[in-house]
């Protein structure tokens, strides 16, 4: 029985990765608001990523955004900007790690958990966009530090805001549609 559950979970991960990547691609392409600094957009996709990762875990979250982001880079910029694509994948993994803690499928998520989730995502985005991505750009692409760190800080802000607003709304709305854990009582 246990074994069977595992295999159906892994199929769901494969499908969630694929469909998630397709949705992320479409959102990045059509629902992105430019910030005025080249190559940084306010991405609704990051908010969706938070829900996807919270539902299907780190593997699906990380791979979905990795695939979606590289496909989007392919058709927008001609070739993927690898450092940022990989960083985005790491963000997906990090957001997926709190799947069990957040437990979206177990009914309405409490306010305290949401606050905790948002603090966590701000830290994750900080590490990813202010530390990892620009440093990668300096090391790999040899771009001037001032430029890439400005892009990094901007991305940190817009991505955190995207997860904080859209991600939180999505998580709350989704969890409301699930039956509360322990909401059924045995009749006496």
């Amino acid at each position: 029985m246990n074994n069977k559950n595992q295999s159906s979970n892994s199929i769901r991960t494969v499908v969630a990765t694929g469909i998630g990547a397709a949705v992320i691609f479409v959102l990045m392409k059509f629902v992105a608001i430019p910030t005025g600094i080249p190559n940084t957009q306010f991405n609704v996709a990051e908010g969706f990523l938070a829900l996807l990762a919270a539902l299907y875990g780190p593997v699906a979250g990380g791979l979905a955004v990795f695939i979606g982001h590289s496909l989007n880079d392919f058709v927008t910029y001609g070739s993927p900007w690898w450092t940022w694509v990989i960083t985005d994948g790491l963000v997906g993994v990090a957001l997926g790690l709190i799947k069990n803690r957040l437990n979206v499928t177990g009914g309405t998520v409490k306010t305290m958990k949401l606050v905790w989730f948002n603090l966590y995502q701000i830290v994750v985005n900080f590490v990813a966009w202010v530390l990892i991505a620009p440093t990668g750009d300096v090391l790999v692409y040899h771009e001037p530090a001032a430029k890439v760190y400005l892009q990094g800080v901007t991305s940190w802000i817009v991505n955190s805001v995207s997860v904080a607003i859209i991600g939180t709304i999505l998580i709350v709305l989704y969890s409301r549609t699930r039956a509360q854990h322990g909401s059924l009582k045995k009749e006496k």
């Binding site: 295999s7 499908v15 990765t17 959102l27 080249p38 969706f48 539902l55 001609g78 771009e143």
Partner: protein, 278 residues
């Protein structure tokens, strides 16, 4: 909106179409990685030239890719301007000499040949892979792409995820358009005429149904795949997989040679930069 979606596979009768997807994938990844690291102008120009020649042979028409190319060039220029604004004497730091055009190195804003040369290299790095990427996207059948990912060692589950993504992007796009039109018919304004907040609210009204229907879709597809025993065996075969032919081996040898030249140039230049100013 349609003009953005035109990039896609169509069957063309060229040798590039007949190469196996794995060869093209290895070629693209190998060249884009070596081009990402190197700053040798001669090497970048050489690769750009080769990819332009390949592009010519691929029989892809310019008007098919014109829109995408314009966007790419616009972003490249924006980036170059930004690099200049933030680090106008970065070239001098890298190449160690200063041949001034305007101003002196003591001022923040100055213009030197070194800076121009550095930005020219950057431009090459931004665009040299574009023809390759276009060739790769437009001559590789998406189903074969998944098969070739599996062939070069990516696990078949991940390859299958990629296949699902490529297969469902048009569907999700259609959903997006349908939902968007339906919500606009109900009075949600998302065009530029509306205020930012109204637009944001309109966007949320589109995204919600899109995401919820996508989550449903995940359930439906994974159940269908489970019924068909996906993931039961350690390996799977691919209907679209292509065996390597003579031309594939030839192409791979050429790719390896180009990469080796790139690596050899690191040794010759004593680093990633080719310095003509010495």
């Amino acid at each position: 909106m349609n003009s953005q979606l035109l990039i896609g596979y169509t069957a063309r009768d060229t040798f590039l179409n007949r190469l196996s997807g794995s060869t093209k994938l290895i070629g693209f990844v190998a060249l884009s990685i070596i081009g990402m690291v190197t700053y040798d102008t001669r090497f970048l120009l050489g690769v750009l030239l080769i990819s332009l020649i390949l592009f010519h042979f691929s029989k892809i028409k310019y008007h098919e890719v014109a829109f995408v190319l314009q966007v790419i060039v616009a972003f490249a220029i924006l980036n170059l301007v930004m690099v200049y604004v933030f680090a106008p004497s970065y070239g001098i730091t890298i190449y160690g000499t200063h041949h001034m055009i305007l101003g002196s190195p003591d001022h923040y804003f100055n213009l030197s040949w070194e800076q121009l040369f550095y930005e020219f290299n950057l431009l090459l790095k931004y665009i040299f892979a574009v023809p390759l990427a276009l060739i790769f996207l437009m001559t590789t059948n998406p189903s074969e792409f998944a098969a070739s990912l599996n062939k070069i060692g990516v696990s078949y589950r991940i390859s299958y995820s990629v296949a699902i993504a490529l297969r469902y992007i048009p569907d999700v796009q259609n959903d997006y358009r349908t939902i968007s039109l339906a919500q606009q018919a109900r009075g949600y304004e998302i065009s530029r005429k509306a205020k930012l907040m109204t637009r944001a609210k309109g966007a949320v009204q589109i995204i919600m149904p899109l995401i919820l229907s996508s989550l449903d879709r995940i359930e439906i597809i994974s159940q269908a795949m489970e019924l068909r025993r996906f993931g039961h065996n350690k390996k799977r075969t691919w209907y679209m997989a292509q065996p390597f032919k003579r031309n594939d081996y030839l192409a791979l040898i050429i790719i390896v040679l180009i990469v080796l030249i790139g690596i050899a140039l690191f040794k010759v230049n004593g680093g990633r930069f080719w310095n003509p100013f010495k």
